[in-house]
Structures are given as C-alpha cells and as structure tokens.
Symmetry: C2
Subunit: 339 residues, 2 copies
DNA sequence: ATAATAATCGAAAGCGGTTTCGAAAACTTC
DNA sequence: GAAGTTTTCGAAACCGCTTTCGATTATTAT
C-alpha cells in the first residue's frame, strides 16, 4: 500500500506537507498542492483509516446492536427493524460514518458488547430490535459511550419511539366509527411500548362509552406463531364473538387472518381485523390489511441525527423523540349495523 | 483510555512486556504475567484495535456489499438475503471478524466501493443482493481484495450458488407428477441464475415429453409488483389457461395468488401455483405455498468459510460452490385428471 | 534599502500497539 | 567453579498519519 511517505519521496517534499495538502491545510503552496494531489492520484494512494483514527481519536464507526436471529424475534421483526436500520444507515453514511455490527466475539474470546465497542473505539452505538433486558445491552446503555435506542423506555439514553398511544387510538376510533363495540385487542407481552398501546386502546374505548372488561384484552407473545394462533382461536370460540380484533402487529394480524379464514369466517364480512406496523406483508394478502403505519424512515433518520449529535457535542443528555403514525385503510374492516 | 504504557508504569515493567503478557508470548515470567493481567483487568484496559491493525496489518473486518434499498430490490429480497447475511455473520463472528457495511461515502466525498474498502483496509468483502453489473461492484470484483459473491456468475471470484437447475427440475417434476401438462413458468429477467432455472424447467418438460412452446415461458421483472400482476393476468386470460404456474419466486407467487383469487379462481382447485425461495411469507397465507427452499444458512456459512479461507491463505482461486435445495410441499398444488 | 509581515515548509513528537534482538540474570552441566 | 543454556526482560524501530512550532523564504510597507 502507498503511504504519504511514498508520495513525499516522489514529489520531493516532506510527509507533513503531503498530509497538509491532502487535508486542505492553508499553509501549502498551490503548486505544491497540485503536484501532491496528482501524485497521490496516479499512485493510487488510499489513506489508512486506522492510522487516521489513531491520531484523530475518532473512528467514524458506529456500532450496531441489532439482534437478527432468535427464537422469538424472527424475520419479520427483522424486516421491520431493518427498514429503520436502512434509513439510519443512509443518514449516517451521508455524514461519513460506517456501520459495524457489534458481536460478542473477538477472536477466541467472548467479550461483552461494551468491550467490543470500546475495543473498536466506535464513536457511538445504535441499539434496535434487541432484548433490552439483556445484561449485556444494559451495560452498554449505562456506559459513557454515545448510545441511542429505538423503542426502549429507560432513564439514561435518548430514544426514539413511534406514537404508540396515538396509533392505538386511531385504530380503536376507526373501528368504533364503523360501529364496532365488541373489540378485542390481542396485544403482545407487557412492556413500555405495549403499555402505551393498551392505554391508547382503553382511553379511546372509554371516551366512546364502550365498557372494557377483562375480555377485551388478551395477551399473546410477539411473533410467536403458535401462541397467536391459539389465542385467536380462543377468542373466536367465545359466546359473544367480537366483531373486530386488533392484533399486536401485522405479522400477528396476517397469521390471525389465516386462522380466522380456516375457521370458516370471512373477513371483513364476519369479523374486522387490524394490525400495527405497516409491513408490505399486509398488502400482499387478500383482503389488504388495515393497519397503523410506523414511519420507519423517520425513526431511522431521527435516531441517526440524535446519535451523531451526541457524538459531536459529547452531550449525552437524554432526549426522547416520538414519531407520528398514520392509519392505512385496507379492506379488512367493515361497518356493522348498530344494534 | 488506558494504554499498555499505563499498565507498564503501574506494574513496573516495560510496555513490551505488557504487550507480550497480553498476547501470550512465552518469554514472560508467570508471576509478571499474572500481575500484568490483573492490573489490566482492574484498570479496565481495552486494546485499541486501530493500533493493532496498524502493526499487524490485519483489521479483522469484512466489508459487506449488500444493497438493501432500491426501486427494484425491495424488502423481500432483503428478507431473503438477510438470512444469508445472518448466517454469514454468525460464522465470521465465530472466527473473530466484524462486519462493516461498505458505503459510497467517506466524509464529504463520494468514493467507490473499492476505495472505501481499501481505506478501511477490510480483510475481505462479501457481495450479496447487489446489482452485479454496477461498475462499482465490478471494480471490486476485479481488484486484488479477497471477495466472495452470492449468486453471481463471473470468472474472477469465488461464488456460492443454490442449485437453481435442480430446483426447477424438482418443481416441474412435482407438477408433472400431479398430471399437469400445461405449465407456465413466469420467470424473472434473464441472467445466469434465471437461465439455469429455465434450463431446469425445459429439460424436465422435455424429459417428460411435454412440448414447450413460447407460451410456456413468460418473462416478468423480479420484485416488480405491477409487472408480475400484469403478466399473471395475461396468462389467466389465455384461451388455454394453464393448470399450473411456476412463479419466479415466493414474492411473485404470493402476489400471483392474490391476483388469481381476485380473478375469482380458486387455488389449488382451479389452478396450481408454486414459488421459489422458501420464505416464511409463503407459509403465512392460505393456501400454504409449495416452493423450493434455498438453504440460506448453508449458503451463508459456505460463503464465510470460503472468504476466510481466501483471507488466510491469500489464495483467491475461483471456486464455485453450489448448495442443495429441497421441495417444500404446501397446499397450493392439486392433482389434475389426465385428459 | 530595511523592517515588518505573510506564505511555505519540515523536524519531531505523538497516537497505541507489536516484534526483533541483544543483554542480563538464573539455571544446568561436568 | 567455569562454561554453556535457558529465562526473562526492555530498548528501539516500526506501522501510517496528524499537528505544532520554529525556520526559512517571499512579499509588502515605509
């Protein structure tokens, strides 16, 4: 590999001058600069980012903690979060940062995420789609390193949220406007995000004088096929079968639709269904799914903005940012007659 | 950050000895080593990988060229290739490599992929799901850097393929065994992979004495919703409507199923449908899709093995590896009566 | 012409490690 | 106890780049 010393030798100047010419320092003669740049070009010079990082104490590298494989979090969360990551990547790349997955291995040894990030001297870390209760992730969150998380309530680092409360409000109101009263929300495991959504559901039901009993809330497990199918069947088997079901997300909704259809019921004639997320998946089935679209592009962009801001200002102050959602009307809901 | 000099000072030895102790050199006394390791631990030492890379001339970093967003290649290719990437990542991480996305930006300037990779001094590069005709990608392929590609026929770098020929043979034979004779293959744009599949289709048809006319092959565009839907409708409108359709992939098949159902036809009663890939997507709809499962785990693992082998041996010899496929029987095909 | 100022350059130290090689100390061997 | 071995250690060079600061030269003002 060509170094600045090679260039210096060929041009007949010092390495310091080469470095300056390459970095647009003012104290280098226009003619000299020209010769250096041309020489660098013709020799195929490529700066060594490791050496630069060493002197500048900045790697232009952002660590990505992004669980892509596990029993629970399968391809479709992956698909959802990868959209966020994609947008995040686009924005950070624009600024010159590279994205590196942070693993738990370095060579032979298992190391913690924090160790990994420190070793690589990442300028910052983005955490998405990860099990936030993992001790390893928490250690990172509580470190001094710039971190931004997606969809995780905590009191140390900045995070980006979709308007979950608002999302469920929109969905619930939509169903109520179609005269549904017996609405069941098959939600995911309770956590902050789920809690917000449930609150949105309950508030909207109450605001419309729809009494909520324990029957209206059914807990299932996110992205657990068996579990979602079972819960759906239980709900369908009830004496007073609901006229509408809100699923925890699009994945569950699509699965639910399959279960409902297999039970011989028609959507939306017999029962209305809505999801949450706005995956393309929901638009590839019949009927098109009515759902809440999360603005993944915006989430990724804001996460990128916030993280790079923290990196540049070294100010880790916790700031929570929420991103608006919107209702996407498919064909999976139908108005019912008022009784 | 703590350096080996800090440790040396506290222990009362030289930095050289610290480095040796940390790297298991034989020429350091057991007692000294113990003191050094303990001191490193208690001071929270974390080696600077940039400095190490500088001396060792090895970054333990693999560049990933993986187009995740474009008009044509949307989320579902992403979903498919991300499984490969996932498996690739798992394996390379095991060996101690980190994965970094290679972008086309470094700071202010747009740089080529090759420049980016050289700058970061990546040990090697994996290319997947990328437009292989992109000048930028080709430049990388023709460089001296260790590269492995997925699903791209070329004569310079090692690549990993699924058994595309075999896949279409299996699908076609399956349909023929169900007495289908009028089978249409709605394939993607012609390229090496598509060519192999078409060959598999044709050979199997011929081997079973099914005459192939131009009507049996319809070209569509991969992952182009409009186009796939249009082509499907054209095929359905034919006088002699086929009894079975082979779609280019699961995405197209799922979309096709929707179009077919919207046309008032039943699957598999009126028409049999098969896909290619083995996405979960195909198992989330009614009826379950019959398809070819590509072994993404194996593809990723073999890509990782081959790439790290090249990195370690510095022998870039082109080796093509193919990975077996298998038929997954869903409920989207039905036997027809022989005429 | 002289003093003051501006433009241009390079020596050298530093970033945080690795590795060679010779020296010193500790053991063996006979 | 002398000679030969083995252990253990550190000085120093090196990896490729940045940046300070003083020196030199060119330019301008007086």
């Amino acid at each position: 590999m060509i170094t600045i010393y090679d260039i210096a030798k060929n041009v007949g100047c010092s390495s310091a001058t080469v470095s300056k010419a390459l970095n647009n320092y003012p104290d280098v003669n226009a003619m000299t600069r020209k010769k250096i740049l041309e020489m660098a070009e013709s020799m195929g010079y490529s700066p060594n980012s490791q050496a630069q990082a060493l002197t500048k104490n900045k790697t232009w590298n952002i660590g990505v903690l992004f669980e892509t494989e596990s029993e629970i979090r399968n391809g479709f969360t992956h698909y959802f979060f990868s959209q966020i990551l994609e947008s995040f990547k686009k924005y950070t790349e624009e600024l010159g940062y590279d994205l590196t997955f942070v693993s738990q291995k370095i060579g032979e040894n298992k190391v913690s995420f924090l160790q990994h990030v420190r070793r690589r001297r990442c300028d910052g870390v983005i955490i998405a789609n990860y099990d936030y209760n993992d001790q390893n992730a928490l250690e990172l969150i509580h470190s001094k390193i710039p971190v931004v998380v997606i969809d995780f309530d905590n009191d140390t680092v900045s995070s980006i949220f979709s308007e979950n409360y608002e999302g469920l409000k929109l969905l619930t109101q939509h169903l109520i406007d179609l005269n549904h009263r017996n609405i069941v929300y098959i939600h995911g495991q309770r956590n902050y995000v789920t809690g917000e959504r449930i609150r949105g559901f309950e508030d909207t039901m109450n605001a419309n004088n729809c009494k909520i009993t324990g029957d209206h809330l059914v807990e299932s497990a996110y992205y657990n096929r068996e579990n979602i199918a079972d819960k759906t069947r239980l709900v369908l088997a009830r004496d007073k079968r609901p006229t509408a079901i809100i699923f925890s997300d699009d994945y569950a909704a699509v699965l639910g639709i399959k279960v409902i259809q297999e039970a011989g019921l028609k959507i939306p004639e017999d029962i209305s269904v809505v999801g949450f997320d706005g995956l393309e998946l929901g638009q590839m089935i019949t009927p098109h799914l009515t759902t809440i679209v999360q603005d993944t592009r915006m989430i990724g962009e804001l996460a990128a903005k916030r993280l790079t801001e923290i990196i540049e200002t070294k100010n880790r102050t916790k700031i929570d940012i929420s991103v608006g959602v919107k209702l996407l009307e498919g064909a999976s809901c139908k108005q019912v007659k008022l009784i």
